[in-house]
């Protein structure tokens, strides 16, 4: 039985904990959960009724850093779900580094560590014979990384472009269809919980840039840094610009591109009949392969769907461990 601990107990952590405590993945036991306040750990596994709304009010609460629980003798698998920090990648980066050094497998939805330190972490995982899986960092539940790594590994990925941020896509879609101003569409997105209270990283294109980096470095073998991505956000996109695009059978979307001109994130004009032109909170990515040519994949890029990607990665850990035995 694989003992799993979840570090980061927000929306995703709670939702995933419920799935694991309910035994949705055979062979995996949820042994611990941690937030910034402390952790609860039970070697024989946490049941559904043990899952608190707030960790610091739970039975067996330890007011201590999560790192105390990231030890090989306590757990086999770390699911790292702390919030993304684009400056340092912390605390996720230290958690992942510690788990890999301990010889644990790691599954994460935290973009920061994977975007900022992919090379270091993937080398460490390889050296220790551990798995580092991060499907949930890009495109929510859309299987972008596993699609390339498992189904298309023999074909060369030449370039890609995509809508990788649901918040900005929602805002631009509302501006296109309802002729809303940027400010109004943003306010609506915040009221609906689609945009965060501080949406800067989404609106300025940084969230898209981090995801683009993860795809470029992990699927195309590039070694790019965030400072090498040319980033422009959507805050200057006006209703007039959307109307002008519409007149020409186009709209404006925030598109991330990895191509011959490097990595860029910018609002771009795309034709309404382009397969990439999806609306609302949907994400879409177009891969251009040497042999296969173009392949576009569309899906929900955040929220609940991300749990699907996490569960699949955990399932992959179970499969890999059963092969190792």
């Amino acid at each position: 039985m694989i003992k799993c601990i979840i570090v980061g107990y927000g929306f995703l952590g709670k939702r995933l904990a419920r799935e694991l405590a309910a035994g949705k993945i055979a062979g995996v036991k949820l042994a611990g959960i941690a937030s910034s306040k402390g952790y609860i750990y039970r070697a024989d596994g946490l049941a559904h009724e043990d899952l608190p709304e707030r960790i610091d009010r739970a039975r067996g609460f330890e007011e201590a850093p999560a790192s105390e629980m990231i030890r090989r003798e306590l757990a086999d698998l770390l699911v790292e779900l702390t919030p993304t920090n684009i400056e340092s990648g912390e605390p996720g980066l230290s958690h992942i580094r510690q788990a890999l050094e301990e010889g644990m497998d790691v599954v994460t939805a935290n973009k920061g560590p994977i975007a900022l330190a992919f090379e270091e972490l993937s080398s460490l995982a390889e050296e220790r014979g551990s798995l580092l899986l991060y499907e949930a960092t890009v495109g929510g539940g859309i299987p972008l990384i596993s699609l390339q790594k498992r189904c298309l590994m023999a074909d060369e990925l030449l370039s890609l472009r995509g809508i990788l941020n649901g918040t900005t896509n929602y805002i631009l879609s509302r501006m296109h269809f309802e002729e809303m101003t940027f400010e109004l569409a943003l306010r609506e997105a915040q009221m609906l919980g689609i945009a965060e209270r501080d949406p800067t990283l989404d609106l300025e294109g940084v969230d898209t840039a981090l995801k683009l980096l993860i795809l470029a470095n992990s699927l195309m073998g590039l070694r790019k840094k965030l400072s090498e991505v040319k980033i422009r956000g959507i805050t200057k996109v006006t209703s007039e610009a959307i109307a002008a695009a519409k007149e020409s059978g186009m709209t404006i979307k925030l598109i991330g591109v990895v191509g011959e001109n490097g990595l860029s994130v910018a609002p771009r004009l795309i034709r309404l009949n382009d397969p990439l032109c999806v609306h609302g909170t949907l994400n879409a990515v177009n891969f251009n392969h040497r042999i296969l040519g173009n392949l576009t994949i569309i899906g929900e890029g955040a929220g609940e769907s991300t749990v699907s990607a996490l569960l699949n990665d955990i399932y992959e850990v179970v499969r890999a461990r059963s092969r190792r035995l």
Partner: protein, 155 residues
């Protein structure tokens, strides 16, 4: 790709045929030939040949072959143009913009402005010779940055 090759042919029988052979062996399909005998200078006749080549590499090979046969290639102008739409959000110096587009060998086919002084938005439809779009976008991006405006291109 369609190209207009301008050659300086020495006015002697068989020279034009030699140039045409180089075009043909490199996959070029000749659309028209204009032989300007009225413009002979120092024994050379300017000849304009419109050719459809399968790709840029075939054009390069044909040019090398023609020049290798001692026939100077004065110009190889790409006739194909990409038509692209761009939007600039913010205050723009239209005169400078049009001048730069022209300097880079492109042409503004349509231009419209909306939003007034409060929220200016300029839409351009630009005809760009093949291979010239990227340099044009780079220049316009720099101009937009100077003007604190946002350039939105297709892609």
């Amino acid at each position: 790709m369609r190209v207009r090759l301008t050659l300086a042919l020495y006015d002697r029988p068989g020279v034009l045929l030699r140039a045409l052979q180089e075009i043909a062996v490199n996959g070029g399909n000749i659309i028209s030939i204009i032989h300007r005998r009225d413009r002979i200078t120092s024994g050379y006749v300017p000849v304009s040949i419109n050719v459809e080549f399968p790709d840029a590499a075939s054009l390069d090979r044909a040019k090398m072959g023609i020049e290798g046969a001692g026939i100077p290639v004065i110009e190889a102008e790409t006739l194909e143009k990409a038509i692209t739409t761009m939007i600039i959000v913010g205050c723009v110096d239209v005169e400078t913009l049009l001048k730069r587009v022209q300097e880079l060998g492109s042409r503004v086919a349509a231009l419209s402005m909306t939003g007034g002084a409060a929220s200016p938005c300029l839409k351009l439809v630009v005809e760009t010779p093949s291979g010239k779009l990227r340099p044009l976008v780079d220049v316009l991006e720099k101009l937009a940055e100077e003007w604190n405006a946002l350039l939105i291109t297709e892609g």
